[in-house]
């Protein structure tokens, strides 16, 4: 059970071969989760939780401060460029599975999708369970920072309620490092932004990701579906260009002050006729290279409602649905002997007869 096993569910020989299953980082991540579960007192009841997935890209990018107009946004029209390049997309998801009086069990899963010459391959990594409570959150959070990023200094962990999201972010960043290292001459699609400076996205780590990508001639495009960035009170994704789609608008000139560092350049991307725009951070390399890479992306990936299909697939495959959660709860009950009982709704109990 503790040993990470790789099960191929496809009969076809996958075109993508990754050694992620044998990664010592991943094994350490998995073992830490297992250790956290072993700390649970089996006498304590768990109540199942059917929570929302946490994989939205609304994290730290919104803390970016945009002040009044510093310069004009610059529009770039994008033309598909017929160069074949692999597209690699990553996304992770975390969800609360069950809770007791002291803490809760979460599950984390990641997905790497590789698309090249119209052939797609997927790696689904996880789910990995973690038991998080006040007592162990400090240890687990800092241990994960150490495992994934080699960070020695300990920090105060986030509030317990934010832990699932933060652990998911750590795992996400590690996967980003992994693909940046493993692939070359590729377009890497991330969910979220390239903002750094928080405890789970340290500047050093983001810098490392960008540097590795640059070394391997990869270009990173991070798509944010949600953003609170505004220019003159207007959400940046509402900004229109005179260019016909597909286009991007560079808003770097509009930025005045940043609480956190953002690697790369910030664009608003509208890649399809549908009126959906996204915040798009691209790094490394120059803007010219960014525009060229977007042209290559259009040629190598399908664009669904202005969003790259490969990244969409990574999102879909990493997300937990209700069946995943119920199945995981059953695993906890049968394999770990955690007594899981249905939590009675106190309102229903009190008021149902009336």
């Amino acid at each position: 059970m503790q040993n990470i096993q790789q099960n191929s569910i496809s009969l076809n020989k996958p075109s993508l071969h990754l050694d992620i299953a044998s990664s010592t980082y991943l094994k350490a991540f998995s073992n830490l989760g297992l250790i956290s579960l072993n700390k649970i007192n089996n006498d304590e009841y768990f109540f199942p939780v059917l929570d929302k997935n946490i994989n939205d890209d609304d994290h730290i990018e919104d803390i970016l401060i945009i002040d009044f107009k510093q310069g004009e946004p610059i529009s770039f029209s994008i033309k598909p460029i017929e160069i074949k390049k692999p597209i690699i997309a990553i996304d992770t998801s975390s969800i609360k599975i069950a809770e007791n009086s002291e803490g809760f069990i979460i599950a984390i899963r990641g997905a790497i999708i590789h698309r090249f010459l119209n052939k797609a391959s997927a790696y689904l990594i996880g789910p990995f369970p973690f038991y998080i409570c006040e007592e162990n959150s400090y240890l687990i959070y800092n241990r994960l920072r150490n495992i994934f990023f080699g960070l020695k200094e300990n920090v105060n962990p986030p509030l317990l309620e934010h832990i699932p999201k933060r652990i998911g972010n750590l795992f996400d960043r590690w996967l980003q490092i992994y693909v940046a290292e493993k692939f070359s001459d590729s377009i890497l699609l991330f969910d979220g932004s390239l903002t750094a400076g928080t405890i789970d996205s340290p500047i050093s780590i983001m810098k490392k990701i960008i540097e590795i990508a640059q070394k391997n001639n990869n270009i990173i495009m991070a798509f944010s579906k949600m953003t609170r960035l505004r220019i003159h009170g207007v959400r940046i994704t509402e900004i229109q260009s005179k260019e016909s789609y597909p286009y991007v608008i560079n808003i770097d000139n509009c930025l005045k002050q940043m609480k956190y560092k953002c690697f790369g350049n910030i664009y608003v991307a509208r890649l399809s006729p549908f009126p959906y725009s996204y915040r798009l951070d691209i790094a490394p390399f120059s803007k010219d290279k960014h525009i060229e890479s977007l042209g290559i992306l259009l040629n190598n990936d399908a664009i669904i409602y202005g969003y790259p299909e490969t990244l969409l697939l990574a999102h879909v495959l990493s997300t937990f649905n209700k069946i995943d959660v119920i199945g995981f709860q059953r695993l906890l009950a049968s394999e770990f002997n955690f007594p899981i009982y249905e939590n009675e709704d106190i309102r229903e109990t009190l008021f149902q007869p009336f």
């Binding site: 790789q6 998995s30 391959s121 997927a122 790696y123 789910p127 369970p129 879909v316 069946i323 695993l331």
Partner: protein, 491 residues
């Protein structure tokens, strides 16, 4: 397995595919450990509508398009597959029982949370069925175990065997009839396809246990009767129902018959023809009667020679320890078939009424082809009281009147897929239509859904056993060479 909900007489059970191998017709027991239990019959198995199943299926379908590798250290995928594949088992409450005793009309329900649900074994069913008798007939298998019914369950009862073509109706009829005869019963078979005539041989063509108990009567050949033996009633019925003779002509015929009897003249078919020709009756009546008498004569079933005539009573009583009389009607034209059946039924009624023969079982295949409509009620009411116990076999369920189904004690149902047939059967049978439609429409060949007294009113699906007899029920085919032989020839 857990009880999900109850609606009227139905209980839905939720389970994983691994919990138990369940098939339609199987019995489940829901018990709490206090001796009481509910006997539930599975009528359908469906998927659970799990929350999020649609998105999960869409996700799975999208995954099928791409090479996918799972790195699943805790093997959660297998657990999720179980959840996704969870089943909902629809059952009907057949009985509430305590120990070996059925409690009818009980409103007891097993607990949804505490009850334990398991598949009922055959011994439990036997203990509950409790049909009087000790003459066991091995009819096939239930859940892989031999299943027996009692020969006594057919005694004094009306039995119907129905199902679409080539599902095994005649096969089970042969098992029942040969078993009854082995236990010493007297049986008559109306064999319209000549498929029972080899019941006295095993598959190798050697004589079997029934060899000395079977008599094959071929009307017009070794089975002929005299007009006198048939009697006025039979002849009037033949004239009226077989030949559609007008009432006036029938009355004249009866008058002529009485005149001949009164004068103590000989009563043969030729005598009748001669007398009618001379009688002072209207020409049209004479013509009508003469033409019908000639038709009767041409059937060759009636003989003028008493020595040539067969005594049905003697045939039935000739063997003490079980007799199977097969009326081979394969070569008969429909009208002659009806005449023969009119004679036999009438004769049996008389013999039984007069206690000249013991009670007898009558197996009638596709009886609607030769039994007139007005005879059905007579068969299942009056004649049953005298000791004639019918077993009807048909592939057209609506050919037997609905009222007959309602009076049937035992019903053996084979597969039906036709909606109209299912509707008819479900309206007419002794259990709810939902069970009939769901179970019967899915029965594989040679599987039978048995209802009624013979199974103690606990409907049971049985896989009918093979029989070591020469079967003649197979339809003759033009292309009968085996594929392998054909290939050899082609090479």
């Amino acid at each position: 397995m857990k009880i999900l909900k109850k609606e009227k007489n139905s209980i839905q059970i939720i389970c994983f595919p691994e919990d138990v191998e369940i098939q339609k017709g199987d019995y489940l027991i829901a018990e709490e450990g206090n001796g009481k239990y509910a006997l539930l019959q599975v009528i359908d198995v469906n998927y659970v509508q799990t929350p999020g199943i649609l998105e999960d299926l869409l996700r799975t379908m999208s995954l099928e398009k791409i090479d996918t590798n799972l790195i699943d250290p805790f093997d959660t995928n297998s657990f999720m597959l179980l959840i996704k594949d969870a089943r909902i088992v629809s059952t009907k409450i057949r009985a509430i029982a305590e120990g070996d005793n059925l409690i009818f009309g009980s409103s007891w329900l097993p607990s949804r949370f505490k009850s334990f649900i398991r598949k009922a074994d055959i011994d439990t069913l036997y203990r509950l069925i409790k049909v009087d008798g000790y003459r066991k007939i091995n009819i096939g298998k239930v859940s892989g175990q031999d299943f027996y019914i009692n020969a006594e369950a057919f005694d004094g009862r009306l039995t119907i065997i129905t199902g679409k073509k080539e599902t095994g109706k005649s096969h089970i009829a042969k098992i029942i009839v040969s078993s009854l005869v082995e236990y010493g019963a007297k049986c008559i078979v109306f064999d319209i396809n000549g498929e029972y005539v080899n019941l006295n041989k095993n598959k190798l063509g050697e004589p079997n246990k029934l060899a000395n108990k079977i008599k094959i009567l071929i009307p017009g050949e070794n089975f002929k009767v005299t007009i006198k033996d048939a009697g006025l009633k039979v002849l009037l019925d033949v004239l009226e129902y077989v030949y559609n003779t007008p009432g006036t002509s029938c009355r004249e015929f009866a008058r002529i018959w009485h005149t001949i009897e009164h004068k103590r003249m000989s009563l043969t078919i030729d005598d009748l023809i001669e007398f009618i020709q001379k009688a002072s009756i209207h020409e049209s009546v004479r013509d009508a009667l003469i033409s019908r008498m000639l038709a009767l004569k041409s059937s060759r079933f009636f003989t003028n020679n008493e020595n040539e005539a067969t005594s049905l009573m003697d045939e039935i009583n000739s063997i003490d320890d079980g007799t199977l009389i097969i009326i081979d009607m394969k070569s008969l034209i429909p009208i002659t078939r009806k005449i023969v059946v009119e004679y036999i039924l009438s004769k049996l009624g008389t013999l039984l009424k007069d206690d000249k023969i013991p009670p007898i079982f009558l197996l009638a295949e596709e009886a609607h082809l030769y039994i007139r409509n007005t005879y059905w009620d007579d068969l299942v009411t009056r004649m049953r009281h005298f000791g004639l116990f019918p077993i009807f076999v048909t592939n057209q369920p609506d050919s037997i009147p609905e009222t007959i189904y309602r009076q049937a004690d035992n019903i053996f149902l084979f597969n039906f897929t036709n909606e109209n047939d299912l509707d008819f059967i479900s309206k007419a049978s002794r259990i709810d239509s939902e069970s009939i439609k769901s179970i019967v429409s899915q029965l594989p060949p040679k599987h039978c859904f048995i209802l009624g007294y013979v199974v103690g009113d606990l409907p049971i699906v049985v896989k009918v056993k093979d029989m070591d007899i020469q079967t003649m029920g197979m339809t003759k085919k033009f292309f009968k060479e085996k594929k392998s032989i054909l290939i050899q020839k082609m090479l």
